[in-house]
Amino acid sequence: MNLSNRAPIVRIVRRESILNWHGWLIRFVGLFLALIVSAIVIYSVVRLNPIKIYAAMFEGNFGSVNRMWVTLRDMMMLLCIGLGLAPAFKMRFWNIGAEGQILAGGIAAAAVMIYFGNSLPTWMLLSISLVASCLAGAIWGGIPAVFKARFGTNEVLFTLMMNYVAIQLTSYFVAVWENPFGSNTVGIINQQTKAGWFPAILDQKYLLNIIIVMTLTVLMYIYLRYSKQGYEISVVGESERTARYIGINVNNTIIRTMMISGAICGLAGYIAVAGASHTISTNTAGGSGFTAIIVAWLAKFNPFVMIFVAALLVFMEKGSIQIASQFNLNDYVSQMITGIILFFILGSEFFTQYRLIFRSGKEVN
């Protein structure tokens, strides 16, 4: 009797190793398949030409110079938060509280702009609000870390709850800084003087955002990969017992790393307030604190890969707004596409690590 007839139909076998280009080929095929499946879904659901939909999405991102800069600005924002989350997640500290840390940073930046806007020179205003935002974010991220280190509290619940506290705090400050009276918003801060706003560089008002975040990307890459603290983060993340065994102070590492994580998220809040919207509201973080978790994880905490992931997610989001208005659809279509693309990208990660053997003896690579 032939064994192959009785074997399971499909078996999953771990790959010993994979060539770099081979892995990327798999991911590329995954993306391509995702676009095809999305096209089929689009056509069968809304009876529109999928090519036109894709074109509209591209249009929504890069249709004009202004749009392109906005796309870049939002990409940088998402990337910045992802960079903040990376060290925490690498340490296996589930920081779900980026939203709150962004708001804490945003409040600090807005406060500096409002209270010192007319009395300090621009460079000093910018530096003070930078420091204040980072500090506020660091405190917001540090509190759950201290509790985790001292009392063993669960950081998922703690950081999540801190988000709601931050939202309430923001509502309070919105009420305090309400302008004009009765609008229930802060309005554009320092609209006339533009005090504390990011200055335009080479006539581009968002260039500074890009410079800050790209610098941070490089620094984070170096920090995680080459610094002693980065090494400690990986050891604590992989095995706390090993960390204790070699004399790493695990509690201190947790607190320090979370303060760094919070500080960078706070910095994102600073960029959002001083460099983009020039106002603060409970929507300043707008869910990107959660989206950025995907950015950090999909890139496996590699800051350079995070650039691409952030770009993809922002592209999808901008595209969705465009197709919503252009074809009179709601943005669910785009969310479906995003879902399909993420599904295929995550799926292709599986195929970079495993291969399938079918009963017929064929191997799928």
Binding site: S234, E238, T242
Partner: protein, 516 residues
């Protein structure tokens, strides 16, 4: 003796994991009324072969015949239905359930569950083969050997005719091993087919009727146990002749290096793990620590290196250069090393504590040294050089320095860990179960390294489980029993049975105390 019947016939079994061939066209017969010893070094494919039989792995090619009929075993359930049951090294029991509940767990049954019937059946099996087991006892209150008994009864309860035991004696004391062998013989005489996977030759000689040897995934031969001897089996197993004697060089100028006085450790529930432990570890000597598992060995070593806070007692370190006494009591491990005290520690849990499984060799070498220097950046050159040296000197079998250590086999993992620990030229070297799960070749490499350190004047503390090794390697043997020292005896001329008795002595005294 009843006549033998071929119960299982495995033909040309091949199983590969990635590029590693674990089983290469292996043929094996298993007979009823017979105890078969499956012998081989670590990584020789014994466990893989048996996992194929018990439905955990599916072979790439080959046939399995049960009672002469070809069968396909896709899952452990298929194996059970064919009467094949495996007792794994790591027990799979639910602590808070009773013996009977664990045994029937996962079995199909009718609407009403009658535990009385179950208990009765368990008792019947127990008396039949001579097990000592109470169906209503909870697992958490049991010793390792009792848990193993539960696993065996579980398999029998499900009607297994073919029992596979994966290194069953690894966790047992000599007395417990005796007991296990007795029930195995009872089962054999009842017509069961029994396979034990082992690499202890002494046990092969004692228990088995037939022995089959695997070497690097290939079946290299088999014979009746009575027709062979230890040196022949060793030759087949390792492919070349190896002296079975472990060296024990004479200690040179031993001087106290570590003095432990009245050490008492309690766990977080306030239960004493170590009570009033005192001893001295001398330079240039190997101090062996014997004891059944969980007698406080872990707490003892971790107290010395500063990972375990303790209630009372003193741990003194005598500096070999100045003769100065340094109290290590309740100092953290970083503080200890900042005092210039070079303690090396090879913990029991290699990948979970001593190394980081997902990191490569270089990064693992860096664990000890990464703090060196004032720079905020890590120095990778020195660890890479060290990794290179360790690989070369200890013949670590690895595809490269960038391979994650979890991909290496047990012996190679241990070589990496020991290599790193002795590279810092320690004055005290502590090892916990340094050769557990290692094949003969790797074990001897470790013994040689320990002796090398000993001759360099290092005080070695060797926590072991194999009494033969402890008796041959160590200059002094400290026997722990339930966290107390039940004796310190010289290694030379020590009697194995005496040590075994010392290991269990206190246990018997406590037997009549009420259970907590």
């Amino acid at each position: 003796m009843p006549s033998l019947k071929k119960a299982i016939c495995m033909q040309d079994i091949t199983k590969t994991f990635g590029s590693v061939v674990a089983n290469d066209q292996v043929c094996l017969d298993i007979n009823t009324n017979e105890i078969l010893a499956l012998l081989g070094e670590n990584g020789s494919g014994k466990t893989t072969l048996m996992n194929v039989l018990s439905g955990i792995y599916f072979p790439d090619s080959g046939h399995v015949l049960v009672d002469g009929k070809e069968v396909t075993i896709r899952s452990p359930k298929d194996a059970y239905n064919l009467g094949i049951g495996m007792i794994h090294q790591h027990f799979k029991l639910v602590d808070v359930l009773t013996v009977a509940e664990n045994i029937i767990l996962g079995m199909p049954g009718k609407g009403r569950l009658d535990m009385k019937v179950v208990n009765k059946k368990i008792r019947k099996i127990s008396t039949m083969y001579g097990f000592d087991i109470d169906p209503e006892q909870k697992i958490y209150s049991m010793t390792v050997s009792q848990k193993q008994t539960v696993e065996i009864v579980k398999v029998l309860y499900r009607g297994a005719e073919i029992l596979i035991l994966d290194e069953p004696t690894a966790v047992l004391t000599p007395q417990e091993t005796e007991k296990l062998f007795k029930v195995l013989r009872n089962m054999r005489n009842d017509g069961k087919a029994i396979v034990i996977i082992t690499h202890k030759l002494r046990e092969v000689e004692e228990i088995s009727d037939r022995v089959e040897v695997l070497h690097r995934g290939k079946h290299v031969g088999g014979m009746m146990t009575k027709d062979t001897n230890a040196s022949e089996m060793t030759n087949m197993m390792v492919g070349r002749s190896i002296s079975l004697n472990i060296e024990r060089p004479e200690p040179k100028d031993p001087k106290p290096r570590i003095m432990v006085k009245g050490l008492t450790v309690k766990d977080k529930d306030g239960i004493a793990k170590l009570t009033d432990v005192s001893f001295t570890a001398n330079s240039g000597e190997v101090l062996g620590i014997a004891g059944i598992s969980n007698s406080g060995q872990k707490e003892l070593l971790e107290s010395i290196v500063g990972l375990q806070p303790f209630e009372s007692g003193d741990i003194l370190y005598i500096d070999p250069k100045t003769g100065e006494e340094i109290n290590l009591g309740n100092k953290g491990s970083r503080e200890i090393s900042s005092l210039g005290v070079m303690l090396s520690f090879v913990p029991e849990d290699r990948l979970g504590m001593g190394l980081v499984g997902n990191m490569d060799l270089t990064n693992n070498m860096m664990l000890r040294s990464f703090r060196r220097g004032k720079s905020v950046f890590t120095d990778r050159k020195a660890p890479r050089r060290l990794a290179h040296q360790v690989v070369k000197k200890l013949q670590v079998n690895t595809p490269g320095l960038t391979t994650p250590v979890r991909r290496l086999s047990g012996g190679n993992v241990q070589k990496v860990l020991v290599g790193r620990e002795i590279s810092s030229s320690p004055t005290v070297l502590m090892t916990a179960y340094a050769v557990r799960g290692l094949d003969i070749n790797s074990s001897y490499t470790i013994y040689d390294l320990i002796n090398e350190q000993k001759q360099m004047g290092v005080a070695v503390i060797f926590v072991g489980e194999d009494l033969d090794v402890l008796l041959e390697l160590c200059d002094q043997i400290l026997v722990l029993c339930s966290g107390k020292v039940s004796g310190i005896i010289p290694g030379k001329g020590a009697d194995k049975h005496e040590v075994g008795m010392m290991m269990t002595k206190l246990k018997k005294e406590n037997k009549h105390e009420p259970v907590k």
